[in-house]
């Protein structure tokens, strides 16, 4: 849960960049004939909201209304006293509070000429909320949109890249400390909680996997400001199949270059993965940092997707063994035309 440091620092992200993020979305809306776009978020998936506003949904749900022209309004079920905190820690100046999003949307649209209302990333909206909005705004065409905000986030800006680098350094150090010889399940999580939250992370998700031969892999996904990084490492001396996994990950990372396809990462890892024990099923994944809050699980892995210059994400190799054990290795990298830049990992 989002219970770590939340700040709005103009030295990290200047006003002009905040304005340009909204303006870019508004240009896309204009090109698609959208008069008002709505972005939904909840405590577990709110990065689009944070990207446009620096809002932190530490609890509950929210909807951001973006007009084709003008400033954004946050529609919230939270009370006025929390809105004051949100006003102080975000770029939002206009709030509208109430118990029902459809009623808030209807109230927001009062006085506006009927037009087209777009639901950003519509497939992931709660069906009830979407249905209630449609029923509450007769005269408006409600259109399902793709992930317009996510698409803007796929290649980070220079300021975002600097934040990702900072995040990667902190997470890498924490992961290294947590996976020293003799660590326990409790000590590993204790270490990353202290190091990451103490280092200014807002959110983090440690996870452990194990196999029947007693090998543990320990992973951490963490959010620093609004950016996510991930690393997962197998504990031990790397002898046997863990070494094979690491070879596969190294090969996949090396293949993550500008213009490469996601499928080519798996192809690069395949020779190493062929050495895994019989019955093991391995999956090589690329998850853009924009999707790491949900582990990339709301996006299908498209082998034909092409990696863009400057794109940052986690390369992972996940294995399910025939006897039910699981293991995973992963690092976060930034794609370049040459060797990828390691944001986490030993080669950083």
């Amino acid at each position: 849960m989002k219970r770590g440091l939340h700040v709005l620092d103009p030295a990290e992200t200047p006003d002009q960049e905040w304005q340009e993020r909204v303006a870019t979305l508004q240009r896309t809306m204009a090109a698609q004939g959208i008069d008002v776009a709505l972005v939904y978020g909840d405590v577990s998936r709110s990065d689009d909201l944070a990207y446009l506003t620096n809002l932190c949904l530490y609890w509950n749900e929210g909807v951001l209304a973006i007009p084709a022209d003008g400033s954004v309004t946050f529609l919230t079920k939270l009370s006025l006293r929390v809105q004051n905190w949100m006003r102080a820690s975000s770029k939002v100046t206009e709030f509208s509070g109430g118990k029902n999003f459809a009623e808030l949307v209807a109230k927001y649209l009062v006085g506006r000429k009927n037009g087209t209302l777009g639901l950003v990333d519509a497939a992931l909206w709660p069906a009830d909320v979407a249905g209630e909005i449609v029923a509450t705004v007769p005269g408006w065409e409600v259109r399902r949109l793709d992930g317009l905000v996510r698409e803007q986030r796929l290649v980070p800006s220079a300021t975002e890249t600097e934040l990702l680098r900072a995040a990667g350094r902190i997470l890498d150090d924490a992961a290294a400390k947590a996976t020293v010889e003799g660590s326990t399940a409790g000590s590993r999580v204790e270490t990353v909680e202290r190091a990451l939250r103490g280092g200014g992370f807002l959110d983090l998700y440690p996870s452990s996997l194990s196999t029947s031969d007693g090998v543990t892999s320990f992973g951490v996904t963490g959010q620093y400001r609004m950016h996510w990084v991930h690393a997962s490492r197998v504990l031990g001396d790397g002898v046997g199949w863990p070494g094979v996994l690491q070879d596969a990950l190294s090969a996949a990372i090396s293949a993550a270059r500008t213009g490469a396809t996601v499928g080519s990462l798996a192809e690069a890892a395949a020779p190493a993965l062929a050495k895994l024990p019989d019955g093991a099923e391995a999956e090589v994944r690329w998850v853009n940092q924009a999707d790491l809050s949900t582990g990339g699980e709301f996006r299908a892995q498209d082998p034909a997707a092409v990696l863009a210059d400057g794109e940052a994400g986690a390369v992972s190799v996940e294995v399910a063994f025939a006897d039910g054990g699981n293991a995973a290795v992963a690092e976060t990298v930034r794609v370049t035309e040459g060797e990828p830049e390691h944001l986490t990992g030993a080669q950083r």
């Binding site: 939340h6 006025l80 006293r81 399940a185 699980e297 039910g324």
Partner: protein, 390 residues
């Protein structure tokens, strides 16, 4: 969220206690299903609302979305977006089968529903099911009536079994340790977020799976509770927290405030007011009491001293709330006439702003007993002061 699971043989037998608990749960749900004419209950759990998934599986999945399908007869089937969760589900053994949930193509869910051919489906957290899944559900069972079943599950979870109470008592021990860690670290110059880091570290070392925590520091200007900022503590600050660790799936909350150094008169008066309100709330708890009655008892103390306006939504939210597999179950608030039966668990916390010392938090979790209530934590209810800081 941490899941540390070793693989177990397929079909591993549950212990006698686990089997009895599973039967109890299925019995409760199926009785309600029969009352409501439901052929299937489908529990949906996005990452922030997984209480019903845990109720059916005794697993908190790591995946971003999970589902459990419980037919009127037969085993439940669990789904998760994360493959390693499927191992966890089957290793735990509370469901008969575990399948991958692919939000981009949730065909496997459709297959299961088509096989069941339900006429009436109840969905717990219906209000959170994304369009892509709802359309799959409707396509797989086009003739079925689909209705919300959130309340059905909330009601089933309200009364805790002895099996559950044993787990909640473990959470209570961790609550106390978390508060000790909180007080231990307070000193002038420490940023708020570092307090959280130290508390989280202590809780996780003790085995907590998660923790929900709000915090605020300062004096009478503090009006609410949020995630931490980079504000540095100063001598004389009151530092407040709602601290809610989760052990074995069960959340329990402690609310306390501490002063960095020695408390001033306003802070002491504030504590006395809030302590009297907590005691008033505790004093009315008995089987059959309503959430409304508990809230009135707390608020009457504020009204008695002329602070009644600070019990309104302008300054606060609720006078407490239920606990269990979700941390914020039935709200303790005036107007909520939900009956709190024996073995329900909730926190009594009259947390609000007053001009005495700013936002103050104080509260204890309680279990409704046959003749009153049991306070579940041992932490002393007092205004904590740190060291000898002037």
């Amino acid at each position: 969220m941490t899941i540390d699971h070793a693989p177990a043989p397929a079909g591993a037998a549950l212990s006698a206690e686990d089997r009895a608990e599973l039967r109890l749960r299925h019995g409760k749900i199926r009785d309600a299903m029969a009352d409501q004419g439901l052929d299937v209950v489908l529990a949906y759990g996005p990452a922030w609302r997984r209480e019903n998934i845990r109720y059916f599986t005794d697993v908190t999945p790591a995946g971003s979305a999970a589902l459990v399908v419980l037919p009127a007869e037969g085993d439940a089937v669990a789904f998760s977006t994360r493959p390693s969760d499927l191992t966890a589900f089957t290793a735990q053994g509370w469901v008969g089968e575990a399948r991958r949930l692919d939000p981009a193509n949730p065909a496997e869910l459709g297959v299961v529903l088509k096989e069941l051919a339900p006429r009436r489906i109840g969905i717990a957290h219906h209000e959170l099911v994304p369009l892509v899944l709802m359309e799959t559900i409707r396509a797989a069972a086009p003739a079925a009536e689909v209705v919300p079943a959130t309340k059905l599950l909330d009601t089933a979870r309200l009364v805790k079994s002895e099996w559950e109470l044993a787990r909640m008592r473990r959470s209570a021990v961790v609550c106390a340790a978390g508060w000790e860690a909180f007080v231990d670290v307070l000193e002038p110059g420490l940023p708020e977020y570092r307090i959280v880091a130290e508390v989280e570290a202590r809780l996780k070392n003790l085995g907590a799976e998660d923790n929900f925590m709000l915090i605020a520091s300062g004096r009478d200007e503090v009006r609410g509770m949020t995630p931490p900022g980079d504000r540095l503590l100063e001598a004389g600050d009151m530092v407040r927290t709602e601290l809610t660790p989760k052990m074995d799936g069960y959340w329990l909350q402690i609310c306390r405030s501490a002063v960095v150094g020695k408390a001033d008169d306003g802070q002491r008066k504030s504590f006395d007011l809030f302590n009297e309100a907590v005691e008033a709330g505790i004093s009315v708890v008995r089987p059959g009491v309503t959430a409304h009655e508990v809230a009135v008892a707390e608020n009457d103390v504020f009204r008695k001293y002329g602070y009644g306006e600070y019990c309104t939504s302008q300054y606060t939210r609720v006078r407490g709330h239920g606990h269990g597999l979700h941390l914020d179950e039935t709200p303790i608030i005036e107007g909520n006439h939900t009956v709190l039966p024996e073995n329900s668990v909730f926190i009594i916390h009259p947390n609000t702003y007053t001009p005495l010392a700013g936002y103050h938090v104080l509260g204890d979790p309680v279990r409704v007993t046959g003749d009153g209530c049991e306070v579940l934590i041992t932490t002393e209810r007092k205004l904590f002061e740190t060291g000898d800081v002037a």
